[in-house]
Amino acid sequence: MNLQHILDGLFPAGHDVSVHGQLVAGCAQTALGTVTVLGTTDAAAIGHDIALGLAGRVLDVVDEHPGRPIVFLVDTKGQALSRAEELLCLNGSLAHLARCVDLARRQGHTSLALVTGEAVSGGFLSFGLMADKTYALADAQVRVMDLKAMARVTKIPYERLQELAAESPTFAPGAENYLRMGAIEAIWDAPRAALLEAALAGQQAAGPAADERMARGAERGGRHLAAATAAAVVSA
């Protein structure tokens, strides 16, 4: 689904969003007022430039538009894979972006991430999974690694992994699995303003978001151990 179609669907009241390389930035009108739109498109590989570009814009929103909601659009095939990126501590720039998203939350900005295309590993961790809540479009692809590559690395036959994937959401790619495990709040059939506005309004009413993904995963039957294990450590 192309970006223009997604933006028109989410923001029929109007948007002023531009694309810089693969970085998406701008603002849009919603029933809740103006929101900031930030993210990536065309399955961007997240390197220093995109990470710092997004981080700087998050800091700008915090400084210039206190409390304005932020909608992150996620389409990333993961982190950029190069020696030059690692030489300058790419994990540090991704951590910096994550801290900026976290700062916005603490300063009272409601945030929501929508996976529009791909969401993979480091790229997903640095902003998509840092928002208050994460949603995905129905055709989104969410994963750490595809099953064939996983079979190669783990030396477990591909057929066996496929078989197990039918029973368990723990390792196989798919937004549905992340929904069951509590990391994706809901899957949207299409980019629609009504869904976005209801989600933002719900989050604003609920107030500052605590991380409730473990509890969601337990309720939905996709992640049985995490919540109880963490609670046992707290009370040990």
């Binding site: 220093h48 430039d49 710092l52 981080a55 800091l59 915090v62 400084d63 982190q79 894979l81 190069s82 020696r83 030059a84 990126e85 690692e86 030489l87 300058l88 501590c89 790419l90 994990n91 540090g92 720039s93 991704l94 951590a95 910096h96 994550a98 801290r99 900026c100 976290d102 700062l103 603490r106 300063q107 590993s121 480091g122 997903f124 961790l125 999974l129 840092m130 750490v144 690694m145 996983m150 783990t154 368990s168 723990t170 390792f171 992340y178 495990m181 509590g182 993904r213 473990m214 995963g217 992640r223 151990l225 995490a226 294990t229 963490a230 609670a231 046992a232 450590v233 707290v234 040990a236």
Partner: protein, 304 residues
């Protein structure tokens, strides 16, 4: 009386080679550690069992309470010798639980001995989500006024999501042997080719991801010898001088400026040698040969 030098030689214990339990015993005050969910009170990962892979009762991470230099601390120690310290559902949840406990108990610090390649592929989704939860929990802990100190010097380094987590901590203490990055050299070589990154070239791997490089570029706070006692001393020194951090908004503005400037200044460089030269090091080729104290002195003398 013992000669101090001989004494040091006798007591020296490689942090790199030690198990997580040996690190816990050697870094923290002797006898002070109390483990939460010890192996006898835990179950190994059922996600590994279903794949016929032997599990570990602690799932590759030890969490508990201890004291460090007399201060109460909470402790996380990843076991690199079990599945490369990789994060699965239980492993991650133990870390999140420990950090949430720190928000309640307000210890003097959380000591996070990272030794991990990142997400455990056998539990890929659970591992990725757990790392995201650890990221938020680290920031919650810091926001509650409890510093989180990462120690990076294990055989698996801190890669993938654990590389991100380490950089979210308040400070990193690292040895020359420690490695800190996002993608491992093997992954980059597999995807982009051996010309991009030769993962068998150990010297190159250290010049790109190793402790001396991260120290010179300001990505870790302290450089220590590969010795449990040195990690202990480094962590104690950091906590002794600990000052309440500036508000996150001004800290992050400064970090944004530092990272942006660095990105421009070192654009196109692909080897630590080139970065060190650009930093003003007169003889970059000597860096890998220098001992820790000489390197720390050299860094102090570099132009700001």
């Amino acid at each position: 009386m013992n000669a101090p030098v001989a004494n040091k030689l006798v007591l020296r214990r490689s942090y790199f080679e030690a198990s997580a339990r040996a690190r816990v015993a050697a870094v923290l005050d002797a006898g002070s550690f109390r483990e939460f969910l010890p192996p006898e009170a835990s179950e190994p990962s059922p996600h590994l069992a279903v794949l016929d892979i032997p599990g570990a009762f602690d799932d590759g991470v030890i969490v508990g309470a201890a004291s460090l230099g007399g201060r109460p601390v909470l402790v996380i120690a990843q076991e690199g010798q079990f599945m490369g310290g990789a994060v699965g559902e239980i492993h991650g949840a133990k870390i999140v639980g420990l950090l949430r406990r720190a928000v309640q108990d307000k210890p003097a610090a959380v000591i996070f001995m990272a030794d991990s390649g990142g997400v455990r592929l056998h539990e890929a989704n659970a591992g990725l989500i757990a790392i995201s939860e650890v990221m938020r929990a680290v920031l919650d802990t810091r926001a509650a006024g409890v510093p989180v100190i990462a120690l990076v010097g294990g055989s698996c380094g801190a890669f993938g999501g654990m590389g991100i987590v380490s950089r979210l901590c308040s400070a990193i203490v690292m040895s020359e042997e420690g490695r800190l990055a996002l993608s491992g050299p093997e992954v980059i070589e597999t995807v982009a080719g051996v010309e991009e990154f030769d993962s068998k070239d150990r010297a190159l791997v250290w010049r790109v991801t190793g402790g001396k490089h991260r120290y010179l570029t300001g990505d870790c706070a302290e450089l220590v010898e590969d010795d449990a006692a040195s990690f202990r001393d480094g962590a104690i020194a950091l906590l002794s001088g600990w000052q309440k951090p500036m508000p996150a908004s001004s800290t992050l503005r400064a970090e944004q400026a530092r990272l942006t400037e660095r990105r421009q200044r070192f654009a196109g460089l692909r080897d630590g040698l080139d970065v060190w030269q650009a930093l003003g090091v007169a003889e970059p080729r000597q860096i890998p040969l220098m001992d820790r104290d000489s390197l720390v002195a050299l860094k102090k003398g570099l132009p700001a």
